[in-house]
Point group: C2
Chain length 493, copies 2
């Protein structure tokens, strides 16, 4: 990434804004990222200009200031189709729409998270919508029927993020998920099958290199990436260090099943998350390299392991909190039973204060759906693979350079604690057991806080129990008790 | 490094300069690096303020604008000694001087090279001299009797770079390499042995995290890191990909011995390098992990290898050119015999055009000297180790995240060519054998070029042969023939 960084800034000649505020450093970094993204997009476009075009579809480039540039003239002199200049507004209503699912992968280290934010456009979603608008696949976000499966935080990557959305289509003859334009009669315009738009290629051409669409699938009209997800799988990579990985694997199993995870997440009561029961289908700790493990005395602290956890839906920061506790268990600072104690919300209704694990090793690895048929374009996969290999080469080689130096210094048998760097914040000199630490606010207390401010309302239920729901009480209110409020299934970390 | 980057820019509140020139992108990146270094220095200082001091020695911090800040008061209230404010110039002549060797390690990826440059202060040497001046270990560079063993290029790292220099000393009683102040009589001031200044700790406190002094050694007065080096060893790390590493190992041996390497370097005639004979003591290709190699069909393309080369002195870019040719041999684009052909300067007096290997995998791993006794401070080594482990954790984890995605995509058995990313420039579609390519200028032609411009002079020798030497002919000229001009033993790449 550093090499990409150097290349981007050297080639850009955009204006550098001048600020003397204290937040300038955030904008400085964002500026560098913007430039990096812009170079990636321009390179992608240049590559396509050298190869064959895609039957008239042109990507309109946008420089970092948001101004549109018309694309370079095609060397072959073929008919170009719409140039997408401001003078000719695109008539979306003349085209069919198609409800689709898109599967994407991204490296999250250069972004401020997946979801769009007010104070920065350095988010994965922002780049996605830039690309969707540039390619005229959607008219605007609001009318695009967009749902996302998960929402990853700053620094978190994804190998299988899924979104559902309505895109422009060529399928005047109809098809799965296709809606014809209102002025078109399905019988009259009985066209020969034309190929659908090459969604994956069109988007990848204009997306930054570290965000890739892997495949797409037609989807029935009611399909939602958010609500129809069958399971979500996360991976957290970590070095063995001096950790007892066997103990960690044993402790991980204790998370499996349906439990109240309020002590293992960041409670998001303000956003209406009032119920913390979640189901973990599996939680394992495995070495990356599947060779038979050596005896513990010869174990290499620089071996890498994966904590893999699969569930229906996850709470905010749940995986990182779960991981933090596993790391404490691995260091033998807590016994494996601490997991059961933290899941016992009757005995422990309030979360002990502890830091979650850092962001960069976390990957949303899989989102599973039934009933979709993913259409992969081999050329696009090859290209994504090449980009990943390029990136891998840089990081893997640098990793070895550093490791060579560590080995050179380590001959005196110094302490090897690479796992220490996975906890947020500074390390305390004396370890304080979790259950002896100060506790965070309880759920009831947080609810009370928001009820007082009118953001949540309490009311008497039919059976005498109390219920809580968001916002002002509507006319025809739908009563739900605290214990059965549906989880907000927009899992995020 | 990216995480370090983010932390540095967030914490700095220094002024952001405003330029609209086309070279602003270089300065932008440099600015980010400066900030990163500044944070590292400040953190190092803060750490030392918490721990014990060093008996009155204070490091004076300098912010990125070059202004001096006085250090924070010591919490223990101990006597501080000189504060180093501008009002009290330091009297170097009152102190002994000591000729020493310093061994250092650095990660070169964030720097523009080792040697000081005019257009940037983002070099390792610039940081070293900042540190030496801040700690008042030297008065200025010019009077410090400074020699360096090697000069690494932009992006190249070092685990054993050695320099020799005169530093301030406490040794009024004399010692190896010590020169007493002129006004001091060695007999009169026969002080009890005091400890020498803790050079390693003092410098590491104020150096950026990615530059570390490992140890120091007293040195006899005539010792020079540049001229007294017995051998230099470089390592180049690379992934196996689809390379035939056995063939590469066999080809590497052909470089051993004394040869004319003009076709395997970048000729630097303008700087007086006129002779290209060098001696390679060993050249090997080994896997990083010493497990028994699996059969070639099950070889993992993501295994890492080291090309290690040991020689007396090296020419400019010699190792990277050697590596480039080895990579071509490993891809079976050239036979191993090409090495012998390139070393045969009678048959091939002019270098074929080819790109050298990229910079980031290269490490100056060892510089060997006789007669020095390295003094290592355990605490400093622990600290350097911790810093390297922190760095390793980030790169190793990111490497696995990417590798996990590659494995996920690669199930269709796509082509795995991570080694391709090690050559500079773009890959040609059709391979052109080296000996069929256009050739670079010959040595004689280059000499002629500089002779015409007065930077080199030819003259008739005693035995009728021609000689060449740098610059204008001095009054009492020293005749040397072309074939015996001493190599410029300032090895660089």
């Amino acid at each position: 990434m550093i090499t990409l960084l150097i290349k981007a800034t050297r080639q850009s000649k955009d204006k550098l804004f001048c600020r003397l505020q204290s937040n300038m450093s955030e904008e400085l970094l964002q500026r560098v990222r913007d430039l990096e993204g812009e170079v990636g997009r321009l390179k992608a476009q240049l590559r396509e200009k050298v190869k064959e075009g895609t039957g008239g579809e042109m990507a309109v480039s946008t420089n970092s200031d948001g101004k549109k540039d018309t694309s370079k003239p095609d060397a072959g002199g073929r008919k170009k189709g719409k140039r997408g200049s401001r003078d000719r507004p695109f008539d979306f209503s003349a085209h069919p729409r198609r409800h689709v699912a898109l599967r994407l992968a991204y490296l999250g280290w250069a972004y401020q998270g997946f979801a769009v934010q007010e104070n920065t456009d350095s988010t994965v979603e922002a780049r996605l919508f830039e690309a969707l608008l540039k390619t005229r696949l959607i008219q605007d976000r609001q009318s695009s029927n967009y749902h996302r499966c998960g929402r990853t935080d700053k620094g978190v990557s994804a190998f299988s993020q899924v979104m559902s959305i309505d895109l422009r289509s060529t399928q005047f003859c109809g098809g799965l998920g296709v809606t014809l334009p209102s002025n078109v009669d399905a019988d009259v315009k009985n066209e020969v099958d034309v190929a659908e738009l090459p969604y994956v290629k069109m988007l990848n051409r204009v997306l930054p290199q570290d965000i890739r669409i892997l495949d797409w699938s037609p989807a029935p009209q009611g399909f939602s990436a958010r609500f129809d997800c069958q399971s979500r799988t996360y991976r957290y990579y970590f070095p063995r260090g001096a950790l007892d990985v066997t103990l960690m694997a044993e402790a991980a199993k204790r998370y499996e099943g349906t439990h109240d995870f309020r002590n293992l997440c960041k409670m998001d009561v303000g956003n209406g998350v009032l119920q913390f029961q979640r189901t973990i289908l599996s939680a394992t700790v495995q070495p990356v390299h599947k060779t038979p493990p050596p005896a513990p005395t010869t174990a290499d602290p620089y071996d890498l392991y994966i904590f893999e956890i699969k569930g229906l839906a996850f709470l905010y920061h749940q995986v990182r909190c779960i991981m933090a506790v596993l790391l404490l268990i691995g260091q033998k600072l807590e016994p494996p039973e601490i997991v059961d104690q933290l899941l016992d919300v009757k005995t422990n209704p309030r979360k002990p204060q502890y830091s979650m694990a850092v962001d960069f090793p976390l990957v949303l690895f899989d989102c599973h759906f039934e009933g979709l048929s993913w259409r992969r374009e081999a050329e696009e996969v090859e290209h994504a693979l090449a980009t990943l290999q390029h990136h891998w080469t840089q990081t893997a080689v640098k990793t070895q350079v550093i490791h060579g130096m560590i080995q050179g210094l380590d001959s005196t048998g110094g302490t090897s604690s690479p796992h220490c760097w996975l906890m947020e914040g500074t390390k305390q000199r004396t370890y304080r057991p979790l259950l002896e630490r100060p506790r965070c606010e309880s759920l009831e207390s947080r609810i009370e806080h928001f009820v007082k401010r009118g953001r949540l309302e309490r009311e008497e239920g039919e059976n005498g129990g109390e219920t809580v729901h968001k916002g002002k009480r509507p006319k025809h209110s739908h009563h739900t008790s605290i214990s059965s409020v549906l989880p907000d299934v927009s899992p995020s970390f």
